[in-house]
Amino acid sequence: MSDPTSAPAAEHGEAFARHQAAIADLKSAHLVQLLTPEGERVEHPEFSFDAGEGADEDETIRGFYRDMVLTRRIDTEATALQRHGELGIWAQLLGQEAAQIGSGRALRPQDFVFPTYREHGVAWCRDIDPLRLLGLFRGVDQGGWDPHDGNFGLYTIVIGAQTLHATGYAMGMQRDGVVGTGDPERDAAVVAYFGDGASSQGDVNEAFIFAASYNAPVVFFCQNNQWAISEPIERQSRIPLYQRALGFGFPGVRVDGNDVLATYAVAQAALQRARDGQGPTFVEAYTYRMGAHTTTDDPTRYRLSEDLETWKLKDPIQRVKAYLVRNGLAGQDFFDEVDDEAERLGEHLREGCRALPEPDPLSVFDLVYAEQTPELAEQRAGYAAYLDSFEMGAV
């Protein structure tokens, strides 16, 4: 089967040639980058890093570093816990720290987040105790934090479903009059996280349509980590993903997802656009899944280790560290302190995980409905009696 890029020029009508050219243009990636892998600040004509009014820029960047180190610690700790049988599975974010911390720190309290199952860094920014994340992967609950505290939705596993929830939530914000009022404490936006693979789901494309149609204040934040389990991004799209938005009538931007300054800047701009009432934006954070898909995956079956080596050179944490060191913005004290904090966090996770209370099997009957049904109450009672019969040694 032929490849469109290598196909001979169409003979019939320049229109197709024009379109081929347009597509070729789309294929060139305009990557927004503000911090090189070597830790050098660079200018971008359209986006710049702005820590915000009254904020100390160096302090903010040190904060990002800390966030990323601690997020990575959550990830490695959880991975180890899974290896020790304490978790059923774990979805690693290794390599995606900058995409998550950059976008997560660009949020205001009144904004709302709809995550996938891998947004541990964003959860961190929303003050979700990482133990709650472990609870889900340990199987004691399904997350179960209150989305209304911290405005962070539940992890959603069915690929893409949450993008529609995000759009609907954004429609609710419009109806609540918290969009485009000009009041920075009031105006709010929604972020929907999803992956490159998710971009193929009908739901995600419907979310684009609804968001465009209603001009809803939602940022579609796609972490293109190059892989959907074993399938490379080329299976889902032959052109850069951020261009998808154009066909739906709203802007798309590709940002270096391993550059925390750039993801912050782009997410910030997209969020502000949404809060201002200017509608949806698609952000493609171009990054790489440095780990396996989950702890049960074996990437050696489908990808080359060279790729991984290349991406290691673009590590999101190393470049911030290089920047801080090179410019004398942080000394060994600071780095040691962060490492100590990471140690303490690791301990908290290891101990906390094992101490997570085992769920009561009868609780399932109480959580199905807000208004319990007689049927289910009866089923609960029957099961309780059955369990009792064992405890009483009756059987």
Partner: protein, 328 residues
Amino acid sequence: MAKVTLAKALNAGLRKAMEDDPKVLLMGEDVGKLGGVFRVTDGLQKDFGEDRVIDSPLAESGIVGTAVGLAIRGYRPVCEIQFDGFVYPAYDQIVSQVAKIHFRSLGKVKMPVVVRIPFGGGIGAVEHHSESPEAQFAHTPGLKVVACSNPVDGYWMIQQAIACDDPVIFLEPKRQYHADKAELDDHQTLQSVQPLFTSRVVRAGTDLTLLAYGPMVKTALASAEAAAGEGRSIEVVDLRSLSPLDLGPVHESVRKTGHAVVVHEAHVNLGMGAEVAARISEQCFYSLEAPVLRVGGFDTPYPPSRMEEQWLPDLDRVLDAVDRSLGF
């Protein structure tokens, strides 16, 4: 109040719910200016505006998926699915999200979403416009499923469904929309009328218990009337709530009659009748003088309309089952 059809009663019920609670929204295809293809939302966009009566893009998963987000934000969305056969693109959002979010969140997030579905056949329509998908929802924990059968129930049940903090699949017998009229009693309140998730004995009898819901209640009543002419006294129960089932009155009835027949338009195989029969058989084992018989749509796709009269359960097929049960 004047007598109204089911469509008008539902319209009035939706209007009332919207007046009572500013968080109630309607959304769906053509629900705005057109007032829906069955006119159930007629005039509501004019009176409540485009922000509360929302014409959606043509995508059912999108309709239900955005309703989930609106519900998380504190709204009470009422989604209209244009025809039964078009609910399936939204099936994933309904069974994996709407039904599970309360559970997933340990009860912290409520899902007061109503999905209105005109259902059933008998209107001479083309493919996908006459389906009876109730069992596909009732099998899913987390959803509640109800079916109204007449204008008065329609008026109250839709308001109760909207007031319910759980998701409700609300089935409307489309061939009744513009049929029989009934008077609404405005002295009643949501609290004074019969609770939503309950069944109702709609005709008393002693020889056999006939169970139906939605469009088949009318057929069941007509069958009971015809049987009365032959000296047979049939008790008819309108199930109304399909999940949860309220079988207390049914068991009571069957313990008295010893005979039960369930009727629905849906395919017999794994239809509601299967569950009802299984439960009655278990609860009334020693009272039953015959097995619970089921009359339903055949286990074929819904046929082209020129065959639907024969395909759908009707008075004769119900009476045939009554005969078989009583003659068992």
